[in-house]
Amino acid sequence: MSPSELPAGDEPSSDFLNDYFAECDEHLMGVRRLLLRLEQSIGRGDINTSVLDELFRHFHSLKGISGMVELRPAEELSHRAEDYLRALRRHDVRLSPEGVNALFDATQLFEQVVNARRSGGVIPAIDAAVATIAGLVSARPADLAAPVPGAPAGAPLTPHWRFLFAPSRELVGRGIRVDLIRTRLTALGEIIHAAPHVTDSGMIAFEFIVATGADAETIAALQQDGVTAERLPDASVVSDPAAAVDPEWPAVGEPSPVAGSVAPSHVVRVDLTRLDDLMRNVGDLVISRARLGETLARIESHVPAGEWRAVQENALVIDRQLRTLREAIMRVRLVPIGEIFRRMPFVVRDLARETGKRVRLQLQGQSTEIDKFLIERMMDPVLHLVRNAVSHGIETADERVAAGKRPEATITLSASTAGEIVTLEVADDGRGIDVEAVRSRAAGAGLDPATAGDAAGLLELLCAPGFSTRDESDRASGRGVGMAVVKSTVEELGGVLRMETAAGAGTRFIVELPVTLAITDALIAKVGAETFAAPQAAVREVIAVPLSAIRALEQNEITPYRGGVLPLVRLSRLFGLADAARDTLHVLVVGTGGSALGLAVDRVVGQREIVVRAATDPLVKVAGISGATDLGDGRVVLIIDPAALARQMRGRPAGVVDGIAGGGGR
């Protein structure tokens, strides 16, 4: 029996497999979430039975579907996990750290087996994991723990409501089904009881008893969808009235894990490419609007002042509406950054076990929203920073105690938004970065150890390709993405990577990213006859510098700036254009501290929204230029990439940058 034996139809067996993989992912997510909860029960004596039940159900489903696709090792692993959970449920064994670890291991192995099936790789051996669990199940304690009362520990003070829902064709036509009603009730509180109910007139209805603190208005709102509600007297709910058929596994478990706070009927899934199309259309509109602006400016002198004001007002209204429209579309693309964060507890946990360290992971700002595209691109870099923090950043418990710290290290992963910038931080309270070790390592790798003068320089060394502070590229951190890739990904996305470190106190990596790409505010600058755009987010300020204030220092130019000096790069020289015949230049200040750099242009002519067309074709990709835009007059304007320029310029004579000299406008 195999999926391929199914009668030939329009669904190939690979179709079942894709469903299988997707379903495995869902169950594994649920399993891990529950295992973390189960872990908290170790040594407490009372285990939350609903957690056990729900875990059991996940493994049971995994066993069932793995059997159907004939993935025997996966079937066997889930079967063994079930065995252990059953033994726990019967109080045959006591919950131990070894047991929870064995379940975590089995889960990880299950995932590896499924991934191997998915990618056609070699399926890992499961014998050891199976034997471990078998050993745990057979090791029964001499003194069995007293049975834990089975009644769910409902909060006695929360009011209980009885809801009745009578399904009908009319409601189904409106998409209102019992599963939807249950999801909505789950969002209100805890469902204590859910069962079908035959009314006096012989009709089928569903009865739900829900412990909820929701207000009467919220509850009344459900009536539109065929739900009636009554508040129960506080004393009447004794325990779960649902008669469990299988005494071992009560039928009423916790609400399904997919239930969120938003009812499914209010959510539409949209292919990302459709949003991209929409964004592109808005981009075209922004360009047309700019073109209209130029036309209007040309005819201003030919139009009577009163008429002109009306035209101008309309133009401003369109401007504002256009901005609202693009912000609305942008918001559609935003998803909570929790998508990245959710995986981290498992990663940290697994790694902490491997390295024998004690770690607590703190997550902050999980509801911070960020462009879907950025989520996908940032997943691996954040994963790398977190792995680094565990394997390199923090010390072992013994080392920490010796240093007078708490044995348990803390890693904080946080996200926040300010304006159009999202900040992601990965901070640890570990040993800090050993500057001397980095220096000697850098010297060994042919890099200049003197670069490590400050945090920015240190980060630059850490991010240099081929640099690693450990001799062996250890398993944890060395999953293909190094710090070099973290930095280049962040910069490709128009962001900035920073680092703060203090010996003995910890290290903090800070990633600042634009909330979204595609359309952004930019400064428009003239250099000779050419026009360039610079993303405003990258520019800290614009200053006017008289030529007389520019000094040559060796082969570089500098100017006094905020009590120090600012290295300057003249874009005219960089791009092989004529120097301006003027005695004051405008300078865009990018970067901070030691890595601050001034990009000198003839003048900044304005600030506007631009539609970014990223240059990704390697044939036209030039370091220092991130893409092109159309300002509305049909001319293509190059968008400079200040971060890349700053990177290229550091430590090099002005005007002699590989790959840039002579690459002017097109």
């Binding site: 029996m1 999926p3 034996e5 199914l6 009668p7 139809g9 669904e11 179709d15 079942f16 469903d19 299988y20 997707a22 379903e23 729900e54 159900r57 049971h60 489903s61 066993k63 069932g64 579907i65 059997g67 159907m68 696709v69 004939e70 079967h79 079930e82 399904p167 009908s168 064709r169 189904v172 089904r177 019992v178 599963d179 249950r182 859910a194 069962a195 079908p196 035959v198 012989g202 009709m203 089928i204 569903f206 649902a242 008669a243 469990a244 058929v245 299988d246 596994w249 009560p250 039928a251 009423v252 478990g253 609400p255 399904s256």
Partner: protein
């Protein structure tokens, strides 16, 4: 059209059952991902055959079965219980509660199809 109700919380299994039974004549398939949704389908109109999983999150398949047998409109509908291997002890319980046929997963599609054909043509289970 005879309505065939497939009840399982796994999308994969529902699809496989559907594919296995595709050759049935004059059949319309409806799916339910939970016990409550299964009973909702029964409330919405007559059903000719139910393929029922036992281990489901909100309402156990045995409860669904008991409800089906206890309800006027559905008490005579044949029910094929299809449950994961390892629940074997529940075979007797399920049959006692009124299951017409009992299969375990992984199931063999032709066997499932043959069972469904028999039940739909009014042939009882070959005890």
């Amino acid at each position: 059209m005879r309505k065939i109700l497939i009840v399982d919380d796994s999308t994969t299994i529902r699809k496989m059952v559907r594919a296995s039974l595709r050759q049935l004549d004059d059949a319309e398939f409806v799916e339910a991902a939970s016990g409550l949704a299964a009973i909702e389908q029964i409330a919405l109109g007559p059903v000719a055959l139910i393929v029922l999983d036992l281990n489901m999150p909100d309402m156990h398949g045995m409860d669904v079965l008991k409800f089906v047998r206890g309800h006027r409109a559905s008490k005579d509908v044949p029910v094929m219980v299809l449950t994961t291997r390892g629940d074997d002890s529940s075979r007797d319980t399920a049959l006692a509660a009124g299951a017409t046929l009992y299969f375990t997963k992984p199931f063999t599609p032709p066997v499932l199809l043959a069972g469904a054909k028999d039940l739909l043509s009014g042939v009882g289970p070959q005890a």
